[in-house]
Amino acid sequence: MGYPHTSHPKETPVLSQYFGDPGARSLDGWKQRGGYRALEKALGMSPADIVNEVKESGLRGRGGAGFPTGVKWSFMKPGDGKPHYLCVNADESEPGTFKDREIMRWTPHALIEGAAIGAYAIGAETCYIYIRGEFTEPLRVMNAAVKEAYAAGVIGPNAMGTGKRIDVHVHKGAGAYICGEETALMNSLEGKRGNPRIKPPFPAVAGLFGKPTTINNVETLAAVPHILNRGAAWYKGMSRGNPKSTGTKLFSVCGNVAKPGNYEVEMGFPFKEFLYELCGGPLPGRRFKAIIPGGSSVPIQTVEEAEATVMDYEGFIAQGTMLGSGGVIVFDDSQCMVKHIARLARFYAHESCAQCTQCREGTAWTTRILERIERGHGTMADLDTLLELADQMTGKTICVLSDSCAAPIVSGIKKFRSEFEAHITGKRCPMGATAAA
């Protein structure tokens, strides 16, 4: 689906069905489109049955890690005498990703419904929706929708008239990438500096305010009502052969591509068909050069690798990268990879929370080296240093921000080494004026 909001025939619009339809924003409009039937049904079920249904559907986390949602919910032990919390991660700060934004803009009640079901399933009475600070429109829409849902008694102390309490609070972040990391998000919600916490303890044991907490991505929760309405088997059926990756996935496409936008396809959809048919291929006269398929934190693919990829969790891993958040960033042959990798590193250096040494210093150092190479002042030894630093920055810190900075550097140098060498030997950027874009 590009803009205007018409789905490509090869898309499978489940979550994106009502994108672009202002009528779906209101509670009444949402109910007319089949909304809140799943919540009504869920509140009549036992939490364990809901968890099993979601487990059965094969739904996995859409935020990046791909952890099975039902299994995550089953970590929340019922009857432990402690308050439970559900956090909705609507921080969507991964560069290249803008799918949750559209869900919240167009179908806010889909998220409220999914969150209410999730909260009930994990024994939580309180749910926090943590919205990225820069998302002003989604924040306004979500606030209005939550107000409407409270007024209609859909949520609140007597949700849907069942006597069950489900409170939903919308919280606006201050605009920090790291607050999309689940434990940093919890610290931020608690009013502290958004620093990731050491795990263990995991959130299911001690999360928000030290209490058992589950945290889910917007897209994950928005899919839950559909699973309850149409059954786990239906959801599982939306997969092209890999039983470990089921359902539909929203991909946000941006960069040098004819039709950028959000596209919803079944798991296992061929990436080549996706790029050339749904997204309209490269701009006239251009060729694709590199793809970052899952948000800026995943390794860069060459176009050959991308064309051989099937779009599911395992399919991306088989081609040396990850599904991540589904933010597809496309580079064509007019782009300087050194410049873009340096820009990515700069982003991570800016957003590092400054806790771990490797991340605080490493992201900044790699940025400086990369920018120096871009300016034509690099040496061949810098490339080895970069790879060694990337190794020091991988798997050694509290969270994965420094790993995320290292991933595009390592894949970039490995796959586009000639561009780096051209900068070093030519003592300037070979792309010249075209790279200035």
């Binding site: 920090a176 500096r193 050491i198 400054a354 806790q355 771990c356 040494t357 210093e361 900044a364 150092w365």
Partner: protein, 524 residues
């Protein structure tokens, strides 16, 4: 103690059993292996941010931060494996990226953990060609300077202020490599225990203004001592350079002060270096005090005391040994003893039970009372007209001066000769806490040793020594040549101290018979 489940593991080939829940870092300490670390401190919460304590644990895919990883049965830990060393070498290179190599002008040099571990495990040369970050030095208030460029962001100082001092002053401001330690708006490090952040800082980022540029760490001689500033009895290290005390720092004692020392205590050492001292025994010849040898002075003092009652004004800053010997002088002459103790505001350290800068600003009030000296704001009010006033290093307030003038005969045993006691008949020079060996009894009844840190000026002697000799002239058996002998005699004579000796006291001290441990006292 309740049943503690022990976990067995191997660290660097050494078998060790520690209670379940112990971190690998603490278990390694028990095995005699110091895992390099910066952010970890046993009195603070786990931050796990410096990543310096990474070790290799068999069967774990990633390196483990030893401070944040609990021990497990059968674990095999390699501290010095190639992978662990490589990772720590990497951390050190990152830490030195923006850290100026200004060790030659840095106060921390020589006692700097960044320096130590870099020499041990770091690279010989850094690879960075990029310019270093620069930030100006900031005054954090109190006694603390923040040299931003040297900071490695371990956050020990932030956590100390939050968790132990419970006064949220410091924070981490900014992100990425722009991050620095900041102060909250309108706040300063004025908490009475704030200077502990200087000790906690593993590098030269937080410095004491008092110690700034005073000495190099390797020029200092270090002596275990006890802070003489209040009744808490915090364990300290007196650091001297060329026989001058230049710094007092906390010495770890988990029963008393853990790792901490209050600001007032740590800065109260300059008087130990006073130069206006009595350096020789003096006796009055007409209107002059004349220097004589010890024997002549003691004989003169004994003559004045003969048949008279001694009124002993004894400083509560004197040692157990000295106070006990003075109490024997009181007993021998049928006299009395009294003292006054200075007061100041009490300042607890909230995060540590039963630790405070105490209102009574003297180290040995407990022993002074135990040995029969009367605590009074006007200690001389009971001075009899016929008494011989013995002033044992006690400070004289203006109100005391008149009573001292009134006394028929005055003997001073002291470090200095107070103006009001210029008419003394005999003056016996005494050593101060830095110049002698001795013990104090703190407010909870813990008897603790302190050692001699600098040489005594001239012919000055500990008060127990001169008083013991004086008693000998009065016919008592009281000749002791070592502080340990004086203490042994005290332990034999006083049931509260029964069984104690310098050997049993060690450097952590022992409680008086019947005194409750501070932890229990705090609980009750």
């Amino acid at each position: 103690m309740a049943d503690v489940q022990l976990v067995n593991l191997t660290i660097e080939g050494r078998q060790v059993s520690v209670p379940a829940g112990t971190s690998i870092l603490e278990a390694a300490k028990a095995a005699g292996v110091l895992i390099p670390h910066y952010c970890y401190h046993p009195s603070l919460s786990i931050a796990g941010n410096c990543r310096m304590c990474q070790v290799e644990v068999e069967k774990l895919p990633k390196l483990a931060p030893a401070c944040a990883t609990a021990v497990a049965e059968g674990q095999v830990v390699h501290v010095y494996s190639e992978r662990a060393l490589e990772a720590r070498k990497g951390v050190l290179e990152f830490l030195l990226l923006n850290h100026p190599l200004d060790c030659p002008i840095c106060d921390q040099s020589g006692e700097c953990e960044l320096q130590d571990y870099t020499y041990r495990e770091g690279r010989a040369e850094g690879r960075s060609q990029e310019p270093k970050r620069f930030n100006p030095v900031e005054d954090f208030g109190g006694d603390v300077l923040y040299v931003t460029n040297r900071c490695i962001l371990c956050t020990r100082c932030v956590r100390f202020m939050d968790e132990v001092a419970k006064d949220t002053v410091l924070n981490v401001s900014e992100r990425g490599d722009r991050a620095v330690i900041g102060k909250f708006e309108g706040k300063d490090l004025t908490h009475p225990w704030a200077s502990n952040v200087v000790d906690l800082c593993p590098v030269g980022a937080l410095l004491s203004k008092d110690f700034l540029n005073k000495a190099r760490a390797w020029e200092l001689d270090r002596t275990p001592s006890i802070c003489p500033n209040c009744t808490q009895g915090c364990n300290t290290i007196l650091e001297t350079r060329d026989n001058v005390v230049v710094r007092m720092r906390p010495r770890t004692n988990s029963e008393v002060n853990r790792y901490f020392l209050c600001d007032e205590g740590r800065l109260d050492y300059r008087w130990m270096n006073r130069t206006d001292r009595v350096e020789a025994p003096l006796v009055r010849r007409g209107d002059r005090l004349v220097a004589v040898d010890w024997e002549e002075a003691l004989k003169a003092a004994a003559l004045h005391l003969n048949g008279k009652r001694a009124f002993v004004l004894a400083s509560p800053k004197l040692s157990n040994e000295s106070l006990w010997m003075l109490s024997r002088l009181v007993e021998k002459t049928g006299g009395r003893g009294a003292f006054r103790v200075a007061h100041g505001p009490e300042a607890p350290l909230p995060g540590v039970p039963d630790l405070a800068l105490r209102a009574e600003r003297a180290p040995n009030v407990r022993a002074a009372e135990l040995f029969g000296f009367t605590k009074s704001d006007t200690p001389l009010s009971a001075l009899g007209s016929d008494d011989v006033l013995v002033i044992a290093d006690h400070e004289l307030a203006p109100a005391d001066a008149e009573a001292v003038q009134r006394a028929a005969s005055v003997i001073v045993i002291g470090t200095t000769l107070p103006e009001a006691a210029r008419h003394a008949l005999v003056v016996l020079p005494a050593t101060n806490v830095a110049e002698e060996e001795g013990t104090f009894t703190n407010l909870r009844g813990r008897v603790q040793r302190y050692l001699q840190a600098r040489s005594a000026p001239g012919m000055a002697r500990p008060v127990w020594w001169s008083t013991g000799d004086l008693l000998a002239f009065l016919g008592e058996r009281a000749g002791y040549f070592l502080a340990s002998e004086a203490f042994a005699a005290l332990a034999a004579a006083r049931p509260e101290y029964a069984g104690m000796s310098y050997d049993t006291l060690g450097l952590k001290g022992q409680l008086l018979a019947g005194a409750a441990a501070p932890a229990e006292a705090a609980r009750s």
